[in-house]
């Protein structure tokens, strides 16, 4: 397999001709994507092998976080196939939950959304209980100019506010440097 070297560049971008605020260029191996920079959020790099994890301010004792990773895959996702087989995702997550001592609660069905810049986001999520805390996690597979960008968001149930931030970040994502 040929490895694609991606450069994700963090920079300021203008979306639909409207300047919404500062942007972050996430660059890895010469390929970049751009996301909105949020006040008081912190960007972690190379944590657990993950190139970028963006952390919210602390709320209810924890920081919510969302990661951005270039999978290197170059393909267009088959929505029907993903929808038909989403039970696999559920099965995977039930198994994963056991490995960390968590219990899955609810699953958010697979759905596809389109960002402001016209990128498709394939979303699926679930909630789980871990050490008496309930988490909401969502996997986002973004079709970014033919490349698949993976993003996962995680928050405490009570940090619903950050869900909005996550959606803003995802919908504002610019695959310009990919």
């Amino acid at each position: 397999m040929i490895r694609f070297f991606i450069v994700l560049t963090l920079g300021a971008v203008a979306l639909s001709g409207t300047v919404l605020g500062k942007s972050l260029e996430l660059t890895k191996n010469a390929r970049s994507i751009f996301i909105e920079e949020k006040p008081d959020w912190k960007m972690g790099k190379d944590l657990f092998g993950m190139p970028f994890i963006y952390f919210s301010p602390k709320k209810n004792g924890q920081r919510s976080n969302i990661s951005f990773t270039d999978t290197g895959a170059n393909l267009a996702l088959d929505m029907k196939a993903l929808a038909d087989n989403q039970a696999d995702f559920k099965k995977n997550k039930d198994a994963w939950a056991k490995t960390v001592g968590a219990t899955t609660l609810e699953f958010s069905p697979y759905e596809v959304k389109e960002t402001k810049l016209g990128h498709k986001i394939h979303q699926i999520g679930f909630s789980y209980k871990h050490e008496n805390k309930i988490y909401f996690e969502r996997s986002n597979y973004i079709e970014c100019r033919g490349k698949i960008i993976f993003s996962k968001s995680l928050r405490l149930k009570e940090n619903e506010k950050h869900e909005k931030d996550f959606q803003e970040l995802l919908h504002g994502l610019d695959c310009g440097g990919v």
């Binding site: 190379d46 990661s67 267009a76 993903l82 968590a102 988490y135």
Partner: protein, 748 residues
């Protein structure tokens, strides 16, 4: 108290007589001094008894002790005590030497902790070091805990070096290289560290199977999407949950954000420490309060605390995959913050988060790590068992040595040693004799002692009594000493005269004396000795007797005992018979009678008469032959009894001397009475003397007259007997007594 001591001693000596002196030590093993206390107890008892019975009660100086023994000698009983004591002391000192050697000491000085040898101290020191090396004390636990970081850091860094690409670069900055850390040394730790690193960093290293799809993502392959993304998606789930939890602590969160690599190294340490706790308190827990793995572990597995981190990881080598798959996620999501913050100190808390499948549990139990821990604990147990045994032995040896020392320092023993030294010195100084007395045998040291011993038999001791004699432990004099021929302590005129004719007879005389000492003498032995003496003496007896009688103060008893043994009316007399005895009596009497008149002769005659008076012993041998009137008559056939006719009787009745005597007698006995008076007159006595003699023995005459028929010559025969006795020099009192005894016998 005295009785108690005597009883105690009796018991001691009884037991001792039943078994050899060393039997105490031999009957049971005395390797660790087991026999010592018993020996010391015996010694203390013996010392107390010796002090009480063999030395005066008052405290004596050393000089006075010497003088005391010089004057009083040493009884055989005391000899038994002191030889027993001496022998036991020698045995005790042998044990002391052996025990000191066994303990690793010499003359009270014990070997140092680094000494080598098979003695107890050396063995205990060596085992102490082994135990210290194996035992899991708090110091060692801390040492292992402290070392854990370096051990694992090396593995962690080595793992980084073993990987390619950016990970290696990130994990091994030049400054981070650890001296002496070689990858190859820690393959198992490296394997685990690599597994952890991969699980943390493998987002690009294969977890992301989506790449497998390549450009051919269509049809059936499209349906596998969720499976392809599983690795990457799950990794992100774990990592992001771990970071979300880490963010609860700003310090930990900052640490990870600023130096994730460095923090991971610390996390690795925490992981291993947590694994150790988990295995100790869960997987290998030896006792649960209720349901295993779901209740409290009441007996954590021994041996884990002191397994080094490297050792633990090596033991888990075969199950690294299980650890990574089933334990690490829980560690990252639940224990990372604790591990990052507290390192190995958070192990207990983190370990509680771990939970694995039953299959994984079995695999872990079957892994080498359990055997390693169990092996360590078993080794410690083995060493402790051996050490415990040696410590018990050491305590026993020390107690025995202490008992010996206490005995040796006992003040009573000092007196005893002084006494022993005094006795030894006295034996070297002069003649030593064994004296036999009625109260027992005594060792006397010549000079002063002999002067006070009186007339006893002594045996010169040919070989001097030496310390060897004491040490030999022989408790019977005869077994120790080569005794010379017995002697009499004091020579008398009689014994001197006898030994003059034959010096060898002194031994015979002494042996006779000795044979008479026991309460129940050996009659046969005595008889043989007396016969021997008599055989040698009798041919020259009259001459010897004359010499003795001519001496200044002849001793009648000595004459009888040594010169005329048959006149002791014992077994010898019986064997010889009455005739021989009578002959001897006659011989003795005649020789005494030949002496010049004077007080010496009178005394001897008196003693003779007293001696031959008819006592039971003599009567038994002699019978009543010589004093019965009939026998007397038979012996006096030549006696002419005067005839008394009527006119003579009348004339005598009117005589002023005889009249009253005759008239007083019954009519039928008057003639017999007159015969006796006339016989006395005919033998040279005047009528008044004859009347006086009759009156003196009137009781005896009346006795005869009462028993004899009327007109009998019996009274006259009695008169003849008296006359002859007088002529023989027998005192009237003696004659009277003899007659009284004789009539008493007859009447009875």
């Amino acid at each position: 108290m005295k009785q108690l001591l005597a009883l105690s001693l009796a018991f001691i000596l009884t037991i001792t007589s039943l078994m050899p002196l060393s039997a105490i030590a031999q009957s049971t093993s005395c390797e660790n001094g087991e026999c010592v206390q018993q020996m010391v107890d015996r010694l203390n008892d013996l010392t107390a008894v010796y002090k009480q019975q063999c030395l005066p009660k008052k405290e004596l100086t050393d000089k006075e002790i010497v003088e005391y023994h010089e004057k009083n000698g040493l009884t055989e009983q005391c000899w038994k005590y002191i030889t027993e004591i001496t022998h036991l002391e020698a045995e005790l000192q042998k044990h002391q030497t052996k025990l000191e050697t066994h303990l690793g000491c010499e003359n009270g000085e014990c070997k140092g902790p680094d000494s080598l040898g098979d003695d107890l101290n050396s063995q205990l020191n060596a085992l102490g070091k082994v135990e210290q090396g194996l035992s899991c004390n708090e110091t060692k636990k801390q040492e292992i805990k402290n070392k854990c970081g370096d051990d694992l850091k090396c593995a962690f860094v080595s793992s980084g070096m073993g990987m390619v690409g950016y990970i290696a670069e990130k994990f091994v900055p030049a400054s981070e290289k650890i001296p002496g850390c070689h990858m190859g040394d820690d393959s198992c730790a490296t394997q685990l560290a690599t597994g952890l690193i991969k699980s943390v960093y493998s987002f690009f290293e294969g977890a992301w199977d989506l790449l497998k799809a390549g450009g051919k993502y269509a049809g059936k392959k499209a349906g596998k999407f969720w499976k392809w993304v599983k690795g990457g998606d799950d990794h992100a789930s774990t990592s992001q949950l771990a970071m979300a939890k880490a963010s609860e602590d700003e310090g930990v969160f900052d640490m990870l954000m600023k130096d994730f690599t460095g923090t991971m190294s610390k996390l690795f340490e925490g992981l291993v420490a947590a694994l150790k706790e988990w295995m100790k308190n869960d997987i290998f827990c030896e006792k649960w309060s209720a349901v295993p793995h779901f209740s409290k572990c009441e007996a954590p597995a021994a041996g884990f605390d002191c397994i080094s981190c490297k050792g633990l990881v090596n033991g888990m080598c075969a199950i690294t995959g299980i650890i990574i798959a089933e334990v690490v996620p829980a560690f990252l999501t639940g224990g990372m913050a604790t591990a990052a913050k507290h390192g190995v100190n958070g192990a207990g808390k983190i370990a509680k988060l771990f939970s694995v499948s039953a299959k994984a549990m079995e695999a872990i139990k079957a892994s080498r790590v359990g055997r390693v821990a169990l092996g360590a604990a078993t080794k410690v147990d083995d060493v402790i068992k051996v050490t415990k045994g040696l410590k018990i032995a050491k305590a026993a040896v020390e107690a025995a040595l202490k008992a010996i020392k206490a005995y040796l320092m006992n003040p009573a023993r000092k007196v005893l040693k002084t006494s022993l030294t005094a006795l030894t010195e006295l034996t070297k100084k002069g003649s030593v004799f064994l004296a036999e007395t009625k109260t027992g045998k005594i060792i006397v040291f010549g000079g002063k002692a002999l002067k006070t011993t009186g007339k006893i038999v002594i045996y010169p001791i040919d070989n001097p009594m030496t310390a060897w004699a004491f040490k030999a432990g022989e408790r019977s004099f005869e077994k120790i000493f080569k005794l010379g021929a017995p002697k009499l302590v004091k020579a008398s005129a009689v014994t001197s005269a006898i030994t003059k004719i034959d010096p060898a007879l002194e031994s015979t005389l002494a042996k006779i004396e000795s044979a008479k000492i026991p309460a129940k003498p050996d009659a046969r032995k005595l008889l043989n000795l007396e016969e021997d003496l008599l055989a040698k003496v009798s041919p020259k007896r009259v001459g010897l007797l004359d010499d003795i009688l001519a001496s200044e103060k002849p001793n009648f008893d000595e004459i009888i005992k040594h010169l005329y043994p048959e006149l002791q009316y014992g077994p010898l007399s019986s064997k010889l018979g009455a005739a021989k005895v009578l002959e001897a009596e006659k011989e003795l009497l005649e020789e005494i009678s030949k002496m010049a008149n004077g007080p010496v002769k009178d005394e001897l005659l008196k003693r003779f008469q007293m001696h031959v008076k008819s006592g039971q012993a003599r009567n038994k041998i002699m019978g009543k032959l010589q004093i019965r009137p009939e026998d007397a008559y038979a012996g006096m056939k030549d006696v002419v009894v005067p005839e008394i006719k009527g006119p003579t009787l009348a004339k005598m009745m009117s005589d002023k001397n005889y009249g009253e005597i005759i008239i007083k007698a019954p009519v039928e006995r008057r003639r017999s009475t007159a015969k006796a008076l006339k016989l006395l007159e005919n033998s040279g006595q005047s009528p008044s003397e004859a009347a006086a003699t009759f009156q003196k023995f009137e009781k005896n005459f009346n006795h005869v007259l009462d028993k004899a028929p009327a007109d009998s010559d019996s009274a006259a025969m009695l008169a003849e007997y008296i006359k002859r006795q007088r002529k023989a020099g027998v005192a009237d009192e003696v004659i009277g007594t003899k007659l009284d005894d004789a009539f008493k016998e007859v009447c009875n």
